[in-house]
């Protein structure tokens, strides 16, 4: 199976594997959300942030503790 075809199966396969039911309208919403977010999510995952590690338990009321 081509990668593109497999990607098309992401939503139905993902929902089915979690045993989440979705009617036709919900599926349309999910597919629209996926089309909107997935390219950006892929770009985010590909973002090269070097060796930057997230702050451990950051205090968001204050500036970051510098490494």
């Amino acid at each position: 199976m081509e990668a593109a075809d497999q990607a098309e199966q992401f939503i139905p396969a993902g929902l089915a594997s979690l045993q989440i039911e979705a009617d036709e309208i919900e599926l349309a919403v999910i597919n629209a959300a996926h089309q909107m977010f997935w390219p950006a999510i892929r770009a985010l995952l590909s973002l090269d942030l070097g060796d930057l590690e997230p702050e451990r338990d950051p205090d968001l009321s204050r500036p970051p503790v510098q490494p």
Binding site: I30, L45, P54, L60, R62, P63
Partner: protein
């Protein structure tokens, strides 16, 4: 002047001086809600008996006797929050929430619950189990969300101020659409207890929506549990970012905001500095992923399959889509959060505030909340979140201030963001901007608020 039309601080002063009877003000507020609310659907519950009991027991605090609306996002001792939805995926029950206690201890009277965008998931306010709230400036337009009811209620002068919540701009958008001042506090500084996500959220804060900055300072101080003292914005260093947030906006919005920034500079004797802030798109997505992940607490496939059919299809679908978001993306979002916090920390060494439009276009129609931008037609949600998410992701405070009316007579707003803990400075800057504009925009009233007044 009718006491209902006074500023919040003037109501406090009038009650303290004995010029206005707090019980009469409460009754007049309830009467005005009855009179004006049908046109805007801002207030979804009133409870005169409980409000009168609050007043009877109200301490001589800084908000003594002042009627306030609170968003449908926190429980009250006599009512659980519904979060604008037919069903929440988190358990709720009546109780003493943090904002309730803060208002009660300040002597305020909770007079009603404000409508909100269903599940807090939209910037427009046109979807709610209670029906859409409407914008007092044009009742066919969106009031903004998700704190739609608090904003519409304040703009229509049902009350002088209201408490909203901001997880991705939900105080700032409705403040902007309704011509109000709205403060998104530094994360963790304002009362949040009792919110069904209080234990997990790293984004959501309570915040005041009022006509102007001085009233936001008053109501905000109650929510903070500390005095947001007035200071001085003299010599304000205003950072301007040349990016989508400031450039992909309707021309009338760009023009009004640029004029406001220049007026603020002149008023404060400060300077405008062009600054770089890379990574805004990634920050927006990181904030969206974070709030969507945090909202999964307690969610199971079984609960999703049992969702009330009265929950809107868009939120039913989105709740299920959240389950498919990759964990790796959330981890990456955490790294982006750190990156942006470090960038902002460095940037706030150079400037005191960064300023760009709160919303890229004026309030869109309720029936089709789309906006026309230089880049093309977009949903208002997509366009709005770009300018708001950074503050939630990083924890910094932000304020939306009205700075004009567009060609359709709808409000335009400027957002200012400051370093962690600079909430009072943002209020100082907002007040300076009000002075620079001769209070023209904070004193502007929508047609609905100029209707025949009910008396006190």
């Amino acid at each position: 002047v009718n006491a209902l039309d006074l500023s919040m601080r003037a109501q406090v002063a009038a009650i303290a001086a004995g010029d206005v009877d707090a019980a009469e003000l409460l009754d007049a507020t309830l009467a005005r809600i009855e009179e004006r609310n049908p046109a805007i659907n801002a207030v979804v519950a009133t409870f005169p008996e409980e409000s009168r009991a609050m007043l009877a027991e109200a301490p001589a605090g800084p908000l003594h006797g002042v009627p306030v609306v609170i968003k449908d996002e926190w429980p009250l001792p006599w009512r659980a929050q519904r979060f604008g939805a037919a069903q929440l995926l988190a358990p709720t029950a009546p109780g003493e929430s943090g904002p309730y206690r803060a208002l009660r201890d300040a002597g305020a009277v909770i007079v009603g619950v404000g409508n909100m965008h269903e599940l807090g998931s939209g910037s427009t306010g046109n979807v709610s189990v209670y029906g859409a709230a409407r914008n007092p400036w044009d009742t066919e337009r969106c009031p903004g969300g998700s704190s739609s009811g608090p904003a519409a209620a304040t703009a229509a002068r049902l009350v002088a101020g209201a408490v909203g919540a901001d997880g991705l701009g939900s105080v700032r958008f409705p403040a902007a659409y309704c011509g109000l001042t709205g403060l998104k506090p530094t994360f963790g500084r304002s009362a949040m207890a009792g919110h069904h996500m209080a234990a997990v959220t790293t984004l959501i804060v309570s915040g005041p929506l009022c006509a102007d900055a001085a009233d936001c300072r008053l109501l905000g101080s109650a929510l903070f549990g500390e005095d947001l003292s007035a200071g001085n914005a003299a010599g304000l260093r205003i950072g301007v970012v040349r990016d989508t947030v400031s450039e992909d906006v309707a021309p009338e919005v760009a023009e009004a905001c640029e004029a406001a920034i220049e007026a603020l500079r002149a008023e404060t004797g400060g300077e405008v500095v062009e600054v770089e802030l890379a990574g805004l798109d990634a920050a927006t997505l990181a904030a969206i992923l974070t709030i969507n992940t945090e909202s999964l607490v307690g969610v199971t496939p079984e609960r999703l399959n049992d969702l009330d059919p009265e929950v809107s299809p868009i939120n039913r679908g989105f709740a299920k889509y959240r389950m498919l978001l990759p964990a790796a993306a959330t981890v990456q979002a955490g790294r982006v959060r750190t990156l942006m916090r470090r960038r902002l920390a460095a940037l706030f060494e150079e400037v005191d505030v960064i300023a760009w439009p709160t919303i890229p276009a004026v309030a869109p129609p309720l029936e089709a909340p789309m906006v026309e931008l230089p880049s093309g037609t977009q949903t208002a949600d997509q366009a709005n979140v770009r300018g708001a998410a950074l503050a939630n992701l990083t924890g910094i405070p932000a304020i939306s201030v009205p700075v004009g009316l567009g060609s359709e007579g709808l409000p335009i707003a400027l957002q200012m963001q400051g370093a962690w803990g600079s909430d009072a400075l943002l209020l100082d800057a907002a007040e300076a901007l009000e002075r620079a504009n001769d209070r023209r925009w904070v004193d502007a009233r929508p047609p609905l608020a100029q209707a025949e007044p009910t008396g006190v």
